[in-house]
């Protein structure tokens, strides 16, 4: 069954609407779930980052608190303090003792670059014995020195900077400094400086990063960078960090976090130093399997779409297939045959529809049958009325003959003709019955023949040879008379020689065959064929002669009562003339 793409059909409508709806649904669903997945992954990654960042802050703090412990240890080292108190009359012994003590502290920890005590008199004692003071440095200008003095005894943590206190050495450090005091009289002895190797913090910041593009940086509360992996880009403004957004967030509670384009910034503040450590994560590192997620979602969408599409197709054909079948059955009405749908595989609604249709068709069929029967009945009664009519010409001709014979005084002939006419009428009426016995029918046709024979003065002879065994069988009344009349008027009357009418009757295979044979004018084979054809066609009555119509009506009546297998046929008779046969079923009178 070839089909073209037609949008008018129910099937394609259903399919189109479903497709569009599913398309929209799948699309929106995909979008939402994709977003959701990405957010979930992102959040869990950021969660991990937060833990990592907290770890980083702790470790940085541990370095600072380590330095603080050293500074406390020095402050509490009584021996060392005593030596320092006496250092005004600085002997080299005392100097080297202090140096050695400080050296021990340095060696105890590998993250300490140097420990230095600066006296108010400008003396500098370094824990590292191999170093010489950089003569070009002015210590009293240094922030770590002035801040420590200002905060008398409190520890001061510097930003990251290049320490140039030792000649020829420029090292990056973060320093912790505090003023130290005499144990006896709380007199200030100078400033203790502990330098932490900045590399420690740097390495820490660079090791605890997430992803290929992630990094950490540290800023202090004055917006100075303590550490940034590409500080030079910052200072030459090739890279700009959203410092303002970061500081704006600091006042808020909770976990400061924001994102700027594809970068996620997470901020933790160290309570010990006041530094803000910021972890930066790139979005491309958070969801590293972008492509995979994308492709799998797209394939999922495709599969879903195909599955639902297939299902939709099944549903739409499931609805339309029975409808189409129904439609095909209904089309049979056009051709006049009323088919029934019968049982159908479909939904309840369609089945109901089919059942109602079948009921309706059943009604129509019944109505049609009734109609046909009524038509038949009407035709039968019409024909019956016609058949019962006696040709008025025949009647007044006969009556004229009777009058003429009466005038002639031929009483015997008058009686004979009148009684024949009476018999004719009586049998014609037969109390309104449609069927009479064959013997009555014979009597009827004999009465007619008697009258005609008297009228035509022995123009013809007749013989009736019907099997007496059939006398009690039934026959439609006035079957033979029209045939005889036809034989007389169209056969015998037309010829000069004496006519002979022969009526026979016998039973053949359970049917009765009656024959009316004349030796009249006869017909050509073509005429016989035409007559036989005209018998079975309901041609317009007016085309036939009165006699012909009588014969036709006989045939029609037989067929109406007994069916198409019965009726009349014309044949050639032997020795010229015509033979008409009547075939009717054989039935005993009593059976009726």
């Amino acid at each position: 069954m070839k089909k073209t793409l037609r949008f008018g059909t129910l099937e394609s409508r259903i399919y189109m609407i479903f497709t569009l709806m599913i398309f929209a649904t799948v699309f929106v669903m995909q979008l939402v779930s994709f977003r959701f997945t990405m957010n979930t992954v992102r959040n869990s990654t950021l969660e991990n980052n937060r833990i990592l960042l907290e770890q980083l802050v702790k470790q940085v703090d541990s370095y600072i608190s380590g330095m603080e412990q050293i500074s406390l240890a020095v402050q509490n080292d009584i021996q060392l303090i005593e030596y320092l108190q006496n250092s005004s009359n600085s002997s080299s012994d005392e100097y080297s003792f202090i140096q050695q003590r400080l050296g021990n502290y340095i060696q105890a920890r590998n993250d300490i670059s140097d420990i230095i005590i600066v006296g108010h008199d400008g003396t500098v004692i370094s824990g590292d014995p191999d170093t010489a003071l950089n003569p070009w440095t002015n210590i009293s200008d240094k922030e770590w020195y002035t801040d420590a003095i200002n905060r008398s005894g409190q520890t001061v943590v510097s930003s990251s900077y290049v320490q140039n206190i030792v000649a020829g050495r420029y090292s990056w450090v973060v320093s912790l400094s505090r003023e130290i005091f005499s144990t006896h009289n709380n007199e200030s002895l100078g400033v203790l400086l502990v330098d932490l190797k900045f590399n420690q913090i740097k390495d820490l910041c660079q090791s605890l990063v997430v992803g290929r593009k992630g990094y950490n940086f540290i800023i202090d509360s004055e917006q100075n960078y303590i550490f940034h992996p590409s500080q030079q880009l910052i200072y030459s403004e090739l890279r700009i960090e959203p410092i303002d957004s970061i500081y704006a967030l600091l006042g808020e509670n909770g976990e400061p976090f924001f994102h700027d384009e594809d970068k996620y910034f997470m901020i933790e503040t160290s309570s010990l130093t006041g530094w803000h450590i910021i972890s930066v994560t790139n979005d491309s590192d958070i969801v590293t399997d972008w492509q995979y997620v994308q492709v799998s979602y797209a394939i999922l969408g495709l599969v879903l779409f195909l599955v639902v599409g297939f299902a939709t197709n099944r549903i739409s054909t499931g609805i339309t297939k029975p409808v189409r079948k129904l439609q095909e059955v209904m089309k049979s009405v056009d051709t006049g045959e009323f088919k029934l749908v019968g049982s159908i595989k479909a939904t309840d609604e369609i089945r109901e529809l089919a059942r109602e249709y079948d009921t309706m068709v059943g009604h129509i069929r019944n109505l049609m049958e009734v109609n046909i029967k009524e038509q038949e009945l009407k035709r039968k009664s019409d024909l019956k009325a016609l058949q019962a009519q006696i040709n008025p010409h025949f009647l007044y001709n006969t009556l004229d003959s009777i009058i003429w014979m009466g005038e002639m005084g031929q009483n015997k002939e008058v009686v004979l003709m009148t009684s024949a006419l009476s018999k004719l009428f009586r049998i014609s009426i037969s109390k309104g019955r449609e069927f009479i016995s064959i013997s009555d029918e014979i009597a009827h046709v004999e009465s007619y023949l008697t009258i005609q024979k008297m009228r035509y003065k022995d123009k013809f002879e007749y013989a009736i040879n019907i099997d007496p065994g059939l006398y009690n069988c039934t026959i439609l009344k006035i079957t033979l008379q029209p045939l005889v009349e036809n034989a007389i008027y169209h056969g015998i009357k037309e010829v000069d020689h004496k006519g002979v009418l022969h009526i026979t009757g016998k039973e053949i295979d359970g049917n009765i065959e009656l024959e009316v044979i004349d030796n009249g004018k006869g017909m050509t084979s073509k005429e016989i064929d035409n007559l036989n054809k005209s018998l079975n066609s309901s041609i317009d009555d007016s085309k036939l002669s009165r006699h012909g119509m009588g014969v036709h009506n006989v045939h029609e009546r037989i067929q109406l009562y007994f069916g198409g297998d019965f009726g009349l046929s014309y044949y050639h008779a032997e020795g010229g003339g015509t033979r008409i046969t009547v075939l009717i079923p054989s039935k005993e009178m009593d059976l009726l």
């Binding site: 399919y15 398309f23 420029y170 593009k213 994308q294």
Partner: protein
């Protein structure tokens, strides 16, 4: 399926869905350059002592490579004077057909052949720090050395006005190198009208620079020396230090070797013009990536220079520049 057209419709719709979704997802991912081979970088010297300069350039390159997600491979001769070796290296690099070559040329003219060869094979070239005598390179990322020379010259002009001695000498690193030519031109431009006695070449040898300076210091009118690179500055400073001539002979140098900065602190070198090697490395890769992405790039990018004196050398914004953290 007998309703083949509906099946077809499904497929088409599904395909459209796929495309639309892909398109949408793609918008979320940043555009990244996908290279099968690394970008090749040929430097003037690697692992050479004490050329901290190239180490910092490499840091900048690495940072940019990380940021833009590209692979890089760095090569180069051990010493800056090995011109033939650099030619061999770049020829070997060209044979590998990299997507792009970044070159810091050791000679202004002798590397032109190699650059032309790369161009004939469709390999774009970006020059860095020192260019070549050719229009082929798509971009040149360097310190504007004339500008840098100008800064050094202007500082020398200011210093010499405070000095009784007025003669100025220029000690250059190598004859024929673009940096040497440009810096000298810049210095001479700024010192126009002053008594510039001449230019001496030390061939990137601190010992030779020291010897030249020893000779120059015999001139009792000599009041200033401009040393055009790190090696020259170190040689000059050593000689001035030994002769204890810093009171009379003012030295302005280039670059920021640790020893040079110590001389600066001591006052033997009065000022030094410092380049931004980190930015140079970073910008060379950034430009390379932009070029490979099909963007228009500038034919010359100035990475800038800064005049450093004893007063500003410990300023926060210059500390990282002068004392790269990774050195320790």
């Amino acid at each position: 399926m007998k309703n083949w057209y509906l099946f077809l419709l499904s497929l088409v719709a599904a395909f459209v869905l796929f495309i639309v979704l892909s398109f949408f997802y793609n918008q979320n991912t940043a555009e990244e350059l996908e290279l099968t081979d690394p970008i090749q970088i040929v430097l003037k010297s690697i692992e050479g002592q004490p050329m901290d300069f190239w180490e910092v350039v490499e840091q900048g390159i690495d940072e940019a490579a990380k940021e833009f997600g590209v692979q890089v491979r760095i090569s180069g001769p051990r010493f800056e004077k090995e011109i033939n070796r650099q030619i061999n290296i770049i020829n070997a690099v060209i044979a590998e057909r990299p997507p792009l070559i970044v070159l810091a040329a050791n000679d202004y003219k002798r590397l032109v052949d190699s650059v032309e060869k790369a161009d004939s094979l469709g390999i774009p070239v970006i020059t860095m720090d020192s260019g070549v005598y050719s229009d082929i390179p798509v971009s040149f990322i360097a310190t504007n050395n004339i500008d840098a020379g100008n800064k050094a010259g202007a500082e020398m002009r200011r210093l010499i006005s405070l000095n009784n001695r007025k003669t100025i000498a220029i000690v250059s690193h190598i004859k024929g190198t673009a940096t040497a030519i440009d810096r000298e031109a810049g210095v001479r431009e700024a010192l126009d009208g002053e008594d510039v006695s001449g230019t001496w070449f030390c061939d990137v040898d601190p010992e030779k620079a020291y010897q030249i300076t020893m000779e120059l210091l015999n001139n009792e009118y000599l009041g200033g020396i401009v040393a055009l690179n790190e090696v020259a500055a170190l040689g000059v400073a050593r000689a001035v230090d030994e002769r204890k001539a810093s009171e009379n002979v003012f030295v302005v140098g280039f670059d920021n070797a640790v020893r040079e900065l110590a001389y600066l602190e001591e006052g033997i070198i009065k000022a030094t013009v410092v380049q931004r090697p980190y930015n140079m490395g970073y910008l060379s890769i950034k430009t390379a990536v932009e070029y490979l992405k099909g963007k228009k790039v500038k034919s010359f990018i100035d990475t800038g220079s800064i005049l450093i004196t004893k007063d500003n050398m410990f300023k926060r914004e210059y500390q990282e520049l002068l004392f790269p953290v990774s050195k320790e």
